[in-house]
């Protein structure tokens, strides 16, 4: 799977796991911040994203602060997954 496909898949997964029903993958800018104004995500969403990475890519974080940089954008998430995925 190339980077573009991974990002598409990731957007689908984010939309599904966070119940972003009014949003389509096309609405999510690869480089835009996931948290803050954009998608209106909160701390529970951050925990669900941690679970998404564990469940789908076998990635676990021992330090939650580390995950903040990973959730900066879809670009950042995809790059981290490529470098660290276990499944």
């Amino acid at each position: 799977m190339d980077n573009k496909e991974l990002k598409e898949q990731l957007k689908q997964q984010v939309i599904e796991v966070l119940n972003l029903e009014d949003i389509t993958p096309a609405d999510i800018d690869d480089a835009a911040p996931l948290f803050g104004e954009g998608l209106g995500l909160d701390s529970i969403d951050a925990l669900e994203l941690l679970m998404l990475l564990d469940k789908n890519y076998g990635i676990k974080f021992s330090d939650r602060n580390q995950s903040k940089a990973v959730f900066a954008s879809i670009d950042a998430m995809a790059a981290y997954i490529i470098a660290n995925r276990k499944k």
Partner: protein, 532 residues
Amino acid sequence: MISAIADNIISPLGMTTAANLEAVRSGKTALRNHDNVHGVKLQEPVVGSFFEELPCMDGYTSFETLLIKSVAAALSETHINAESDTCVFIISTTKGNIWSSPADSAKKVANYFGNKVSPIVVSTACTSGVSAQLAAWRMLTSGRYETAIVVGCDVQSEFIVSGFQSFKALSNELCRPFDVQRKGLNAGEAVATLILSNTRNGKWHLMGGSIHNDANHISGPSRTAEGSLRCLKDMLKLVDKTDLAMISVHGTGTLYNDEMESIAIHRAEMDEIPVSALKGYYGHTMGAAGLLETILTMHALDEGVILPSKGYETQGTTYRVNLSQDERESRGNSFIKLLSGFGGVNAAVAWTKAEVKEKNLTPDEYNKWKEKAAVTLTSSDNIKELYKAEIGNYPKFYKMDMLARLGFVGTELLLKRAGVEPEHEGTAIVMANYSASMKNDKDYEATIEDKNNYFPSPALFVYTLPNIVTGEVAIRHQVYGETAFYVLHSEDEMQQLIDVTGMKPSIKTIIAGWVECVSTDDYYAKLSLLKR
């Protein structure tokens, strides 16, 4: 006056209040490492306080057995007639048995003691034990009952522990409330009973209480402590600050809770008042916490001491809170018990040994409510379509569980029909049902059932508390007034609880709702907008 006439605590530290007080004063903690909860292996070990062996009487669950044992022990200290129709059972629990309605457990427990009055289950997350005391105060003040048997309990399980793990809220060490090194809470279990009476005199008198919502977030406490601040300010109207011995805080040991409480205390200008946090001995005992911590505080103050806050060494909050790892001498006749919980709810009660001026509320003063609008939703109403057609533009709707969606859409339609926006301070949101959060509990359970595909969902876990629906409405409309959730056998049992909400003079509007969600296609809601 409403007095405490008997009490009991059963915990891993002891079977009586006296044994618990002694254990705490000698610095014992019930917190240990566990790789299982009552024989169920945990995916990740925890530090917690669990009974070595859960008692279980024939025909009763362990939860019900614990309630019965604690109530029986408290009753043995007094001569009240628990069978009387002027005696009401008020049960505080967050999860009860999980797989059956806590209303059924409450009835079984009341019936065990020959009591036929419909019991009340207070389920307002971690504030349940204080909200239950306030419910008792109101019931006794109304004169409808002479005695309230208030009992709080939760039995720990993989269900609860995994949920807190998914929230990354647990510490893998002994919890350290308010300390700079604190990492999270520990799960605990206990049962505690407080018997209140408006006819018999006891040493301690319940002056009243207060509930406020943060109107901020369903799991994270307010960064400015809006709810707890309002609770403390309300308590300062009841208690003379110079006679206030201490505040018994929630002090869970999580970063956010303790920080929030320090802000509330600072903003209420109570920085100098001694504070005590007891989670270092018991962990977070959920439905029992409010009662256990109230009872222990009373008995410690009777001995002239403020209990040490185990685990606290170095200030770890923005504002300094006056707590100590050492036992201190107490001064003053009164104390405040403060709690906060998921759903943005905060609650406080004030107790004193001094005389309390009688509140002679006539029913006319509090229960004259006029219905301004009503909404009924049934299984034939498609809630999602109703949301899209009549509300929209609130994406959080899609994150809610079915119960919260039902209460949320019902409330929106109600307000739309009435053509009003609720007052931020003067509104109470009072909801109830029979099956608590059963539908969502099953959804959450599905995420932990398969040990090879074990991914407990925090977004589902938060809705395993039925009071979250009241928090969703509070957030939507910035309601800081009261939020309450009760689990009852039938809709008609709700009226008395709605009426007594009017005892809080600042409440001018009540959004009252019976919101029942059994499954995705079996639900019912009836909501009313009430004005004084």
